[in-house]
């Protein structure tokens, strides 16, 4: 015969053993969190995501035709809107043809089917234009700016999470950014005239002829650091387990990857991508036809050109991107921890 102490012990033992299963039992009987992890099946990566979704939202509110005749939100839509110096407003500023915002203004959002000009020292959330956009010196953007035509940004601006233009995007000195998109993005007013010599077409044939270097192993790997002498032409991809340095005026007909830091000296041409896990440094006047990708900082010296008119590319750094004056990039620049110009 079992004593009551033994019975109590057994009940306590099995009770404690089963206790961890009780919450799960509740969830099984009354499921609250049983949906699969949500995947957006239609999601497509888009550099101008903010501007495009903002316009879609506006279009949903009112078609362009209706806007011309009626109102948006609480105010009438005018062809021309001028905001005086020092004005502070939180609503949406919208116009059909032109928006001109004076200096030292503080506003929420602005949208124009034509051009937008934002005065110096202004602070705002976001702005989109279907025409051109000019942002004068020392403005602060909290979220994003986007234009369908050329955009010019003055010096000392803080550009929020994204500044994008379907055409050219000119960014002034001392600007800070996270994402820039333009065709091209320029850090100087004038386009850079890039000299690209006639590049050999047959990559593999060049190996061992013009380079004067030996890359270890038949499979193109180098186990340590690798330096390509100045003026060489390398006809294949370069992969090194350490740092890579491409000497001045060398040509690489392929991709350069270093698990360490990649340095491109003056006048280097790379027809593929440049991947430097521990950072990339372009001293200046380099031409990279492909993408640049790094888990550390990417520094582009004066005269560096990335991408081509006919092909947009991406510069991606998991930390910072530092752009000198006179850099031209066709495509997207992403700096997860922020980037600066100049």
């Amino acid at each position: 015969m079992m004593t009551w102490e033994t019975a109590l012990l057994l009940v306590a033992f099995f009770g404690l053993m089963l206790f961890p299963f009780l919450p799960g039992l509740i969830e099984l009987l009354n499921p609250v969190d049983d949906e699969p992890l949500a995947i957006d099946m239609e999601y497509i990566r888009e550099a101008r995501y903010f501007g495009i979704t903002f316009r879609r939202r506006i279009d949903e509110q009112m078609s362009k035709q209706a806007m011309g005749a009626g109102a948006m939100g609480s105010g009438r839509i005018q062809p021309l809107v001028t905001i005086g110096r020092g004005t502070q407003t939180s609503g949406l500023i919208a116009a059909l043809d032109h928006i001109e915002i004076g200096e030292n203004c503080n506003f929420g959002e602005a949208y124009c089917y034509g051009d937008v000009q934002i005065g110096a020292d202004s602070t705002f959330e976001s702005a989109a234009s279907d025409g051109r956009m000019v942002i004068e010196d020392n403005c602060t953007v909290h979220r994003w700016v986007d234009s369908e035509q050329d955009m010019a940004i003055g010096t000392g601006c803080v550009l929020g999470v994204s500044a994008s233009s379907a055409q050219s995007l000119i960014v002034g000195d001392r600007c800070e950014f996270q994402r820039l998109w333009g065709l091209p993005v320029r850090t100087s007013e004038e386009p850079i005239s890039r000299y690209v010599p006639d590049l050999p077409q047959e990559r593999e044939e060049i190996i061992g002829k013009d380079t004067g270097i030996e890359i270890e192993d038949t499979a193109r790997w180098s186990s340590g650091d690798l330096t390509v002498p100045a003026g060489s032409t390398v006809g294949r991809d370069i992969v090194a387990y350490g740092d890579v340095r491409i000497g001045a005026n060398a040509i690489v007909l392929g991709t350069v990857k270093g698990r360490g830091r990649v340095t491109l000296d003056e006048g280097v041409i790379v027809t593929g991508n440049v991947i430097g896990q521990r950072g990339i440094n372009c001293i200046g006047n380099a031409s990279v036809f492909g993408n640049m990708f790094s888990e550390r900082d990417i520094e582009l010296g004066p005269g560096t050109v990335v991408g081509r008119t006919e092909a947009f590319k991406t510069i991606y750094s998991q930390t910072r991107v530092l752009l000198a004056r006179g850099v031209e990039v066709y495509g997207w620049i992403v700096a997860e921890e922020g980037g600066t110009v100049g």
């Binding site: 799960g24 099946m41 990708f293």
Partner: protein, 418 residues
């Protein structure tokens, strides 16, 4: 005298198993800590590039009438430029309406070019080998037939090959049919731990992320240069992973390239699946273990991780035999010194779980924004016991494969979609 040495050996064996399990637990703790506290390595899908490579998508199929429409529609819905895309559904000796469905799609879409296999051995490795001969492009993406890739999945996976070191890339598998019962909910947890934490941590630490073969891509020329997939190895994915790493190539992991799959909904189907995985994985371990330790292309910690990854399916067998050893010691009156060891073994087994320990699964669920699903974690203890049985059966199969030297029969996972 003999019994003394036998008991001594059993004691030693239990200690060795305890140390091995402890090492695995530490490994998973490092992974979890890496995922939770360290800056994560980003994958190349951050890149937007207007010059995309032409790609071939392979979809191995055997009696897939229940799911064929879904994956073909998903591929048609892809944003990848269709002039750069070739889709090859590999109809591998199907006896249902799969062929008819494929012909309907091929008539409508010129980039869908089915391959009908009616001769030769059946099975995924053989099907892939034939398809590689038939494929036109260098970048080859593989989806299992029950997968539903989102619109930009092909672009994301193809972008991995901007890196000349990358030989293969793997996306993240997400079960879609989680609501179907306890098993599917537990498999959802297991998948979350395995991908969100385990694979991502291995990628972040530059260790051995695994090509999983169900939502991934590889370079065709590299696989062909290695002689294609070995039809005698059921885990062609593990085989490719180690073949690549030991030849200097890398495998990338794309955690944000998420793709729905259909999980097994019944325990017997799951048993056969795990048994097949264990068999194939063990075959790959026999093939690659020594090469992984001796290759000059891997660093020390990569070799350690690779060896532990190859040995992962041996753990349930080691645990089961350690328990048997303990029973023998118990019956011989030698249990006292080992009670703590066995307790530790069970604790580690419960921590270790089956393919992802509980703390790893819990962390993954938290990262995914899960709430009450973590309440089901204690039920994974049952899955672990279940898997011990299935894995031991798979190990036995693998050993018999070595003895018989035959080509194993490929067993297809049942589909449930209506």
């Amino acid at each position: 005298m003999v019994s003394f040495w036998l008991l001594w050996l059993l004691q030693l064996y239990i200690y060795v198993v305890a140390v091995i399990m402890l090492l695995y637990m530490v490994r998973h703790m490092v992974f979890t800590s890496t995922r939770l506290h360290r800056k994560q390595r980003r994958f190349y899908h951050e890149i937007l590039d207007s010059e995309l490579p032409p790609v071939t998508v392979l979809v191995p199929m055997h009696n897939e009438e229940a799911v064929a429409h879904d994956i073909l529609r998903a591929l048609i819905n892809s944003d990848y430029p269709k002039d750069l895309l070739e889709v090859i559904p590999v109809d591998d000796h199907s006896e249902d309406r799969t062929e008819q469905i494929l012909r309907e799609y091929a008539d409508q879409y010129s980039y869908i070019r089915p391959l009908y296999r009616r001769s030769g051995p059946r099975g995924k490795p053989s099907g892939l080998n034939d398809a590689l001969e038939y494929a036109s492009h260098e970048v080859v993406i593989v989806f299992d037939a029950d997968y539903t890739p989102p619109a930009d999945m092909i672009k994301q996976l193809a972008m991995a090959f901007v890196d000349p070191e990358v030989g293969a890339v793997m996306g993240r598998v997400v079960p879609e049919n989680t609501k179907r019962g306890l098993l599917t909910r537990l498999l959802d947890l297991e998948r979350a731990g395995g991908y969100q934490v385990d694979q991502q941590a291995r990628y972040t630490r530059n260790l051995i992320p695994q090509y999983g073969g169900t939502v991934g891509a590889f370079r065709r020329s590299v696989v062909l240069s290695m002689g294609g997939f070995n039809p005698r190895i059921l885990a062609e994915d593990t085989d490719l992973t180690f073949a690549l790493f030991t030849r200097g190539w890398q495998v990338a992991y794309a955690n944000r390239s998420e793709c729905y799959e259909e999980s097994p909904e019944s325990w017997d189907v799951r048993f056969r699946q795990v048994r097949r995985w264990a068999r194939g994985h063990t075959q790959a371990a026999f093939r690659h273990f020594l090469r992984t330790l001796s290759t000059r292309y891997l660093r020390f910690w990569q070799k350690v991780d690779g060896a532990m990854l190859l040995g992962v399916y041996a753990i349930p067998t080691l645990l089961a035999t350690a328990i048997l050893a303990h029973l023998v010691l118990f019956l011989s009156g030698r249990v006292a010194p080992f009670t703590l060891i066995i307790a530790a073994l069970f604790c580690m087994a419960n921590s270790y779980g089956n393919f992802a320990p509980f703390f790893e699964v819990g962390s993954a669920t938290m990262l995914d924004g899960g709430r009450r699903r973590t309440w089901l974690l204690p039920y994974m203890a049952y899955v672990f016991i279940f898997n011990v049985w299935a894995v031991v059966s798979g190990l036995k199969d693998a050993l018999l494969d070595v003895i018989r030297e035959g080509t194993p029969q490929w067993e297809k996972t049942e589909r449930y979609r209506q």
